[in-house]
């Protein structure tokens, strides 16, 4: 079914000076407190984002008007060392409910010592998002990527 070649996964590593339990808790319980608010998909401004603490849980944002938009699902919940969630936000910055189009994010928390933790993040199966995108473009006549790029350009400009 997949028509897109595999896209290399993205990976990031960061080390924080806190115990592994706290590192995991901030990432999950307090997700909405640190996630950059400009990266959201709802019509309303984002009030917070929530990662439900269990396998099968929802990962979603809440707008300032009380509306909710799904981002993905929790696939693996293994505190304090491992978390796997799906990322189902496509190039049109919309939630794609089809699990076939779900990319995956795995986050590993490794204690370097009692007060230091290394977090390794991998965002993989990106080609599944593109497959979904290609499908939608086939139906609607395109227009997906320019909006993403505009958003990107805006983010890049704001950063400057």
């Amino acid at each position: 079914m997949s028509s897109t070649p595999t896209i290399p996964p993205l990976s990031g590593t960061i080390t924080v000076d806190v115990p592994v339990e706290r590192a995991f808790r901030v990432f999950t319980d307090a997700f909405g407190s640190w996630w950059p608010a400009e990266y959201h998909i709802g019509q309303a401004d984002m009030a917070t984002a929530i990662l439900e603490p269990r396998a099968g849980g929802r990962w979603y944002e809440q707008g300032t008007d009380g509306s909710e938009c799904d981002w993905g699902r929790v696939l693996a919940w293994e505190p304090p060392h491992r978390l796997v969630v799906t990322w189902q936000i496509n190039g049109q910055w919309q939630y794609d409910p089809d699990p076939e189009h779900a990319s995956e994010i795995e986050v590993r928390f490794t204690a370097d010592g009692p007060d230091q933790t290394t977090i390794q993040l991998e965002h993989r199966r990106l080609e599944r998002l593109v497959d979904g995108q290609a499908l939608r473009d086939g139906i609607t006549g395109g227009g997906g990527w320019p909006s993403l790029l505009e958003l990107f350009a805006k983010a890049a400009t704001n950063q400057a």
Partner: protein, 110 residues
């Protein structure tokens, strides 16, 4: 910031290159058209375009004697570069939050 797979950030880390990227996001341009809108020479524009092309973000085609540059429409590289940036920012914000308060306020409240 210690991130791997950050080639996308390198591609758009330069402000002039980002400006070119943004102009191309609006519509295709020639080197001359880009140079008119930016405070740099045509040769500098060409160098940045080469980096964007090598990185898979832009493509070009010949039209008569002119060469037209535009963003790579395949979307794959664009998606990857975009998400790369999202994670770079998100992890930086996360590290700040993790280290900001020594005790989780939620725990303290309860």
């Amino acid at each position: 910031m210690d991130t791997n797979g950050a080639e996308g950030l390198g591609l758009l880390g330069d402000p002039t290159r980002r400006a070119i990227f943004e102009l191309l996001a609006r519509r295709p341009h020639t080197v001359g058209e880009l140079a008119q809108q930016l405070p740099i020479t045509r040769s500098a524009v060409s160098q940045h375009l080469r980096v964007l092309k090598d990185g898979g973000l832009a493509v070009s085609r010949a039209e008569g004697t002119r060469r037209i540059y535009r963003l790579n429409p395949d979307g794959v590289t664009g998606l990857r570069v975009y998400l790369d940036r999202v994670w770079e920012e998100a992890l930086t914000a996360y590290a700040k939050a993790a280290q900001a308060a020594p005790i989780d306020p939620k725990q303290e409240d309860q």
